[in-house]
């Protein structure tokens, strides 16, 4: 009785020791080694088996096995029909007194020089809540080597192991998640277009992404990690980097104090002429102390250009729209005054009204130019292609423009057939030709011949509009298609500076090209455009 009590106490102590030991495990490997050591010393066994169960693949991974204290290699096997698999499946421990009589034999690979197969076994599931995490088994070659109390001890140890294993699993899962977040963040930082700098509490550069390196290290300068920005030895040519560092200095100083910093902007003066904006956020520890900061630089050059363009557009449009409105208003008021005084003839009234009508037309064409411009800038210039006879179209435009002038002779020259069919947007082509012809009239104030030459050539057609007007200087030839461009000589004549830009956009949308030739001032100009016949079936009659 005393011996039995003594034995019981030893077992309880053993459980207590194992519990204490297991809580010290910091990783899986440590846990498995401790389990092995403690269990084998508590329950003398010939072999020790510890397997982890993977619920997803229904496999058991052998993480520790030993025979007579000799470690054997592990492996993975599927859940089978032996007692070990059964324990996992049922989550119930099992005591085997005589294996050869009680349970199916399973192939045991590791028996090395042992006298036959084990006859006794105690097997306990390692579980956490409802989930089976693994199994621990002890074997002895002799029959009747274990009793119920041994099984209870193993169960208690396995339960303890289950708790520790679940805890370790959680922290390992957290570590895995953390590592994944870190690599995700690294991927984001390296692919983001914005430049990002991370600085510590003393202002030293801790990390920077690829864009930041490109931004700061143009021309082979380099950023030294662990050094404050201001102390970096920029190459003497890396002017931009110095400008950036100077702009950032007050921002970084504020962030180091844990204060929010206002957005800063710098327009680089070097050849890159880029505009950058910087935003910064302090990095705070849980107590709210600044541990560093993150600064993001964004290249807003494109956005600024669009802003400038918009305000230029607004200013040009408002100026150019005001003029015809002023004339219309003043003309109407003038007529009313004159009528009020009875000092007006029918011809005066007619003249005044004609003026109002023509200014209204000018206003309308300015408004469509503004609308076309916005459409083009928004990238929404859509063509409505159909089969068009360019010769008929040109002829109609020439007749129309001819009505506006009596000191210019507009002529159409066509080489080849009387028809030239292509797949184009007829309204837009009409707009191009009208614009080129009214320009030709406008810029040849002395009058003269204006010709439109149309020539089909292979799968393309070339149109040329020539005048004998004021011509263009070489630098004007280069810039005449730019938006808002008005040559010096042209400034005297009205125009929003958008007409040729719109023409160019329309021709380009057709897959063509527009250009101008001029022998110089007072030698006239020839505006030419070339168009592919279009995608639809070619109906050009040769």
């Amino acid at each position: 009785m005393i011996a039995a009590d003594e034995r019981q106490r030893e077992r309880l102590q053993c459980i207590r020791d194992t519990s204490q030991a297991l809580t010290r495990a910091v990783d899986f490997d440590g846990l498995f080694s401790m389990l092995h050591l403690e269990i084998v010393s508590a329950l003398a066994a010939d072999t020790f088996f510890l397997g982890l169960y993977d619920d997803a693949s229904h496999t058991i991974e052998v993480v520790r096995q030993a025979e007579f204290n000799k470690e054997l290699p592990g492996g993975t096997f599927p859940l089978g029909h032996g007692p070990t698999s059964e324990v996992i499946r049922t989550r119930r421990p099992r005591l085997i007194r005589r294996w050869s009589e009680e349970a199916p034999r399973v192939q045991v690979q590791y028996l090395s020089g042992a006298p036959g197969l084990p006859e006794s076994a105690i097997i306990a599931p390692i579980a956490s809540g409802e989930q089976v995490l693994g199994v621990v088994a002890l074997h002895k070659y002799a029959p009747d080597a274990f009793d119920e109390n041994d099984l209870l001890v193993l169960e208690a140890m396995a339960a303890q192991a289950g708790l520790v294993l679940a805890g370790l699993g959680r922290s390992e899962r957290l570590t895995t998640q953390l590592l994944r977040r870190v690599s995700e963040l690294q991927a984001i930082l390296s692919t983001m277009a914005d430049a990002l700098l991370i600085l510590d509490s003393t202002g030293r550069v801790v990390a920077l992404n690829h864009s930041a390196r490109e931004l700061l290290c143009a021309d082979d300068a380099s950023v030294v990690l662990g050094q404050p920005l201001a102390e970096q030895t920029w190459g003497q040519w890396a002017l931009g980097a110095r400008e950036i560092s100077e702009t950032l200095a007050p921002m970084i100083a504020a962030l180091q104090r844990g204060e929010p910093a206002a957005e800063a902007e710098v327009q680089l003066q070097n050849h890159r002429h880029r505009t950058l904006t910087f935003t910064g956020t302090p990095l705070l520890d849980p107590l709210g102390r600044a541990t560093g900061c993150v600064v993001i630089a964004r290249d807003v050059t494109g956005r600024r250009e669009v802003d400038e363009l918009k305000s230029e557009m607004l200013s040009v449009a408002s100026h150019d729209l005001r003029t015809p409105v002023t004339v219309i208003r003043a003309q109407a008021q003038l007529l009313r005054r004159a009528i009020g005084r009875g000092a007006i003839t029918l011809d005066d009234v007619n003249g005044g009204l004609a003026e109002i009508v023509s200014e209204t037309q000018r206003l309308a064409s300015l408004l469509s130019a503004v609308l076309d411009f916005s459409t083009i800038e928004a990238g929404n210039l859509a063509l409505q292609r159909q089969t068009v006879d360019l010769i008929a179209l040109a002829s109609a435009v020439i007749d129309e423009v001819q009505t506006t002038t009596d000191h210019h002779q507009l002529e159409l020259h066509v080489s080849g057939s009387a028809e030239l069919m292509g797949y184009w947007d007829d309204r837009r082509l009409q707009q191009v030709l009208t614009n080129l012809l009214t320009n030709a009239v406008k810029y040849s104030p002395a009058g003269g011949a204006i010709t439109v030459d149309i020539e089909a050539c292979d799968q393309t057609v070339i149109a040329r509009v020539s005048d004998q007007g004021i011509g263009l200087r070489r630098e004007e030839v280069e810039h005449v298609f730019e938006r808002f461009f008005r040559g010096d000589a042209l400034r005297r004549l009205e125009g929003s500076g958008l007409g040729l830009y719109i023409c160019q956009s329309i021709v380009a949308a057709h897959g063509g090209r527009i250009w101008v030739e001029s022998a110089g001032p007072d030698h006239g100009s020839t505006f030419c455009f070339i168009l592919p016949m279009g995608e639809a079936s070619l109906t050009f009659d040769a």
Partner: protein, 129 residues
């Protein structure tokens, strides 16, 4: 009274001139700052209507030249401008009209300025004698 209309927009120059003539004034026109300088020299206007944006020489520069000339320093100038926001600072002018202006108001302002002018003109005439 002699009035010079400096305006590069022919339709507007014509309309403004017609309205001034209807009020009994003698009107001269110029389309650029350079033309306007030649014109003021010749015809000695009693008042100038001036557009700001013009080719060659803009309205501001023309105004500076005009104010440098002792004989023209007191001639009232009325601005007619289509500039979005007129920066009036430093502009030595008597009135500013933003396009599209009210023709009746413009004509009233012209008449008021001319009515206030004979005194200054007579003073200068006295000193000339």
């Amino acid at each position: 009274m002699n009035i010079l209309v400096v305006e590069d927009e022919p339709a507007l120059q014509k309309t403004t001139a017609a309205a001034l003539k209807l009020n009994g004034h003698v009107v001269m026109g110029a389309e650029t700052g350079v033309q306007a300088l030649a014109e003021v020299d010749q015809c000695r206007p009693d008042l100038v209507l001036l557009d700001l944006q013009m080719p060659d020489m803009d309205g501001r520069e023309f105004l500076r030249h005009m104010r440098d000339e002792p004989a023209l320093v007191d001639v009232p100038v009325v601005i007619m401008s289509a500039v979005h926001r007129i920066d009036a600072e430093g502009l030595d002018v008597q009135a500013i009209f933003a396009k599209p202006f009210d023709l009746d108001e413009l004509l009233d302002a012209v008449d008021e300025l001319l009515a206030a002018r004979p005194l200054a003109a007579s003073v200068r005439d006295d000193t000339a004698h």
